[in-house]
């Protein structure tokens, strides 16, 4: 089984400041890692994913994340946030490889961008 921990439930940050949203996972097997974003009253949209290869992955809207296997982390970063980035961000993990593997989500981090 896999588990995901997002330590920060809420992160306020000023506009144009950098932000890091933390995610740690636990798994006994190889995993894929994902970050999804949920804007108010909307569904989940994929931001980026790590499957294999380069540990630094880039996603939409200027976000990037780095996979660190030794620390079992997949932190999300953006160098300069905008008001429009205000949303809830979910880190998720699934088993790697073929199959209908479920996603296990963290509890989410609410990012509030302050003008």
């Amino acid at each position: 089984a896999q588990s995901v921990t997002q330590l920060d439930s809420q992160v306020p940050v000023f506009e144009e400041a950098p932000v890091e949203l933390r995610c740690n996972y636990s798994s006994s097997v190889s995993v894929y890692l994902f970050w999804y974003v949920q804007y108010p009253n909307q569904g989940l949209q994929l931001l980026l994913k790590y499957l294999s290869g380069s540990t630094l992955v880039k996603g939409i809207n200027g976000f990037e994340a780095e996979f660190n296997k030794s620390q079992t982390s997949f932190h999300l970063r953006k160098p300069s946030v905008h008001i429009s980035d205000t949303a809830e961000y979910f880190c998720a993990v699934s088993r790697s490889g073929a199959g209908s593997y479920q996603l296990t989500f963290g509890k989410g981090t609410k990012l509030s961008v302050i003008p």
Binding site: L44, L46, K49, A92, S100, Q102, L103
Partner: protein, 117 residues
Amino acid sequence: EPEVTQTPSHQVTQMGQEVILRCVPISNHLYFYWYRQILGQKVEFLVSFYNNEISEKSEIFDDQFSVERPDGSNFTLKIRSTKLEDSAMYFCASRGGQGAENGDTQYFGPGTRLTVL
């Protein structure tokens, strides 16, 4: 861009009633999922469906729940006798699978908010 759609967007029902939540996954996707998110809590896996049968299910997915793919496009979640604690946002997702572009990624619908009174 293809997307997952869900209907209705909001369903209100009385405790003990049956509800059917409907989803149209992305065309040509092979794997289908239902998740739920109780207000203020994390998104939880309910069930996955592949090749016309359930492939995985969680503890939440008890005998009150069932899924069906009645035709080539729809994927439904039925709750036979709703309880107050079934009130949640229910998300459908689909994934293309091997050979498909981004076949490893689950794409989510906008959700159906179920309110049980």
